[in-house]
């Protein structure tokens, strides 16, 4: 699950509330998609990202 950073840990931010209210399978997908995007952004290899996102969604639904 994504984490909030230091100064706002005591009180949940609005975006965190939205995230936590979402279906757990959506939460899982959000986290994984963000990880993929960040990884690709750092590597500067963007064409691969779309394939990876499709695979991520497929894996999560398969598991579910």
């Amino acid at each position: 699950m994504p984490e909030q950073t230091s100064s706002t840990k005591k009180e949940l931010s609005e975006s965190m509330k939205i995230f936590l209210k979402a279906d757990p399978i959506i939460q899982d997908a959000i986290k994984k998609c963000l990880d993929e995007e960040r990884h690709v952004m750092n590597m500067m290899n963007r064409p691969e990202i779309k394939k990876k996102l499709v695979q991520t969604i497929k894996n999560i639904t398969k598991k579910d």
Binding site: T8, S15, I18, A22, I25, E37, R38, K50
Partner: protein
Amino acid sequence: MILEKLVLENFRQFYGKQEIIFSQHEERNVTIIHAENGFGKTTLLNAFLWVLHGKRYLTNDFEKKDHLINEKCVRESNNPENTYAEVELTFLHGKLKIVAKKRITLGQQNSKSDSNLEVTIKNELGKIYRPINDREYIRSIIPPGIANFLFFNGENIDRYAMEESADDVSSAIRKMMGLELIQRTIDDLEDREVRGTFVKELRDNASKEKTELINERENELQNRKKIQEDINNAQAEIKSADEEIRSIDSKLEANQEVASLQKRRAELEAQAEEQGKKIQEYNAEIKKLINEDGYAIVGKSLIDPSNSMMDQWRKDGQIPAQVLDTFLKDLLKAEKCICQRDLKIGSTFRASVESLLQIAGDQNFNTAVGALDRSIGHINGIADKASEKLKQIRINQATSKNIFDRVKEDIAEISKNLGNKDDNTVRELEDRRNYLNSSRDNILIKIGQFKERIPVIESRIKELQSRIESLADDEETTRIAQKQLNLIDGCIDTFKKILAAETAELIPALTTEINKHLSQTVNQRGYTAQIDNNFSIKVINEQGGIVARNQALRQTLSLCFIGSLIDLSKRRADLPTIVNGLTGTVYPIVMDSPFGAMDLGLQNDIAKIIPELANQVVAMISSSQYFGGVENTLKQTKKIGRRYYLRYHNTSLPDKKYNKTMTIDGKEYQLFQLDKFEHTQILEII
């Protein structure tokens, strides 16, 4: 991003190879470049934008964008491939030293093609390497959407404090605060190769009925996307018209004969904007009032006849009931009246009491009468109060409308006046301005029409979605395809909500920062800034009234806004986000004519805060803006780390309006030099 060095080679008036090394000193963080108007300040600013993002992102006031190579080099060229202009920018990004280099040959310039960017990276171990994609790499460090906030002309910067820039502002905030990652994820998930893959899988496996519904929904989604694109294009047209109008206004203000008229028009336009906003606010108040209490106002006419009827019944003694049926029934049951007469069955007295039952009411009836009385009273009370409030809002609205109309008439009069001037240039500028304003109005109407269509399409999409979901899938493959599509749509929807929430959550922090900067500039006037959810900035005076923002105030606000954004991006890690590991980013500011249209007092105020706007500040200032208050104020900050000046070379000396020399710390510097050809030289003041 910390700027280290800018090297220009044959770039416009900068002949040969010349460089500027920027101050990286933590305390003395300001690099000043002194330059008279027309010497090359705008060219220097555009050198940054060109090397980072190419021709498309050059500023509007940078004329002849297709002629970047120095004219003397072009004239003397024997080989178009060996004649070129080049800009090289060296900067630090975290622990990396990055060199971005862009060269355009005469061949490329003649064919109007843009040149290639070449990026080299040196890591902390001294290893030098190239990124996989130079352009994408630079964009990941400094996206084009924020470059215009960091490298800007102070005279045009006031637009960031205007409502029509709200989209740019919100996009820049997202980019600078790292939220672009969420936006990119949304864009990628919505892409044909991602979401489209799952739609296709579902289509291929679903029943005929479901496939038709899916097709229809996808068409509607495309329609919505198309409308959004049309809105974006229309907004871009408005932005471009606004920029041209601003440029025309500057030209008119620079013309002595019409300067006062133009100035008066600018004031009137600020008033019209303020009144227009007020009218909108009154409309919103009326809407709110009608939503909340409108039933009482409308219902009053329906309630009034019932109320009269009740009054009549009350007068006739029919309500409340004079006698209760339970009381009469008790007497009949006991067969004894309270006057001790017998009420035996068949007796005359009993018949009399029984006849009273017809007019008697029960306790519930009386309670209901009481409740009805109270409700009518309550509704009437609300209706009276709401009517009174509505009346007041309408009076205020009419007052604003009157002022608005009067101001508009005055503006039209000024425009007519300018359009009839003998000066051809003024007339042409005014004609063009009128044309731009009328196109702008037409585009605004178009945007309104586009926006009206969105909720209709969205409701249709929702309806189709629920019909699709209600159709059961027989095959396992169809069920899986539906599940995958539901998941991706759920992700996109949640991501969008998260992005909106995270952007909105930055508003309080941004407001605090802006007010911190603003208090140092216009504190004496007791102004505070408020940012609404659309990132439109309002300035409020001590009495709580909205301050009409003239160009100077908008420039101040925009500078404070940029400084605040840079502060926030530096301490990104302390602000809430669901994205893990967002660290702070340092950005510099490069300003051409930072004092824009400000008066002397405001110039001083801004000079005080300039060094605080970013970790590194580069300011290009003309003598007319520098000497006087700004010079002393900047000196007192002790923040100037490096200083350069531009010297203009030509075959003849320019007219008298320019200073020929400039004196800094008692030393005189020559600003002009007779030479064999026209060019600009960069010289350091040590």
